[in-house]
Amino acid sequence: MSVTKQEIKRLGEMIYLDLTDGESVRFADLLNLVLKKADDLLSGLKDKPLRHISQLRNRMREDGVGIPLPKEKVLANAAETQDGCFRVPRILED
């Protein structure tokens, strides 16, 4: 299968990533290159999928009250804050 410029634009919209026309063309070429090689080498494999090599099981910590990072330290990295919160563009209509 071949990835088109339009397909790349659609993917960009899915992940909230603005793309120029030039980028869409370049990324379509990139994906086609990688996927062609994948088609050649991976098709037909029947092994069981291995998602992770770690044999570890989930380790749970005690459900207790911890000490969070100080609010001022966390907010200090935000570009915009207001009243002790992260400030974002309006979400709800009037």
């Binding site: 993917l11 909230y16 990324f27 991976l42 098709s43 069981k48 990295n77 992260f86």
Partner: protein
Amino acid sequence: MTIAGMSVVEILEGQQRGEFTPEEVLRAHLDRIEAEDVGAFLRLCPKGSPGKGLLQGVPVALGDEVCTEGVETTAGSRILSGFVPPYQATLVGKLEGAGAAVVGKTNLTEFGLSFAMEDALFQRTQNPWRSGTTPGGAAGGAAAAVAAGQAPAAVASDTGGDVRIPASFCGVVGFTPTYGRISRYGVIQHAPSLTQVGLLAQKVRDIALLLKVLAGEDPQDATTLPGELPDFLEKPGEPGSWRIGIAPEAYRSCAGGDVYQATEELWQRAAEELGWQLVEVDMSWLDLAQVARRLIAAAESSSSLGRYDGVRYGYRAKDAQDMRELFSRTRAEGFGEGVKGEMLLGTYILGDQAHYEAYYLQALRARNLVYKSIKDLWQQVDLILTPTTPRPAGEGETPLEIFTGPSNLGGLPAISLPCRLVGGLPVGVQLIAPAGEEGRLLRAAHVLEKMIDFASSRNGGGQRA
């Protein structure tokens, strides 16, 4: 010998003999950074007098993906410009607790996604062996710093060879441990099932010391290995009659002629001088492993990197009218081309059932095939020996991670040692061990390092620029 350029062990021994103080060691390295600008560091952050411990007074460079509380940390991306972590990576606390002095943060490709250091966004890092030549990536700044004597050791993440590839290009030792051996808490990463924390230094014994300090379970990282730690330094110089797996046919088809010849001559010498038993093995899956690792990394990256949106930290697009515009423009302006391509590839193979089955699931099947193939090899051999990279620093067709990626797919410890000069530039040789066998790996590497005697061959065959 001047202090800057000494190995970790030489610095510790010099301090013990009273030849210099930790403060003089730090000053010497800062002076070297100022005198020889190879673009290794994005920023310096030396503190006051270091504490006491196993690494007392040893300057250590950190890849800029390692969170340092109060010191800007960007992972090489514009989208994290100005990000000052409110917490410290576990490994930084361990280093400082052992008396090491964090000297600065080193350059890398954006989020460590590319092995080509030319893709780094903030500045050009030079290979100290030849100006204008790439040091390799992703941890090119860390390797260049160690090679230039600007820090005797460095710590950076390794997702497919990011530490071993630049170590090979820059003529230093690069090591990645068993998956989970070193905590990744506070290390910004893009492909969590592949990433291990790697180490760079001048000598194998330096690596063993650093590993002793950094290894261990961390309640903040559920993937760290529980249980007692093996003694990595036990009998470090004992020669062993190791059974060494080599795959001449696969290496010949992937590596350049000079690199193949250097590796072949090395294993022949090891057989003659060290008594190592050579066992030819099948590694015809190298190409398969490369593609599988590439797709798995892209899939995981498309998820991991989705957290950057301009709201809580890092770069934020100006004057966005709504949330969609804020996210879309922040990512468009904040991410470089490599990251965008990786996110799109990952989304393509995860975002549709047919693509998921054709690519992501097949990549996981390939991962299992490679994992089982290597596991079977351990019935025949104790270690695997490969070239580290298919070529010295420079252009080429074969993916740079062809020999290093498989150990990340399998979570295996591996080490790259400087082997010899090819066309005046270093190339490395890689040893891979079974999971949990860092002791075996480091003992064998130490013996091999002594046999190679790279410093002497370097003086005979060419000098670092």
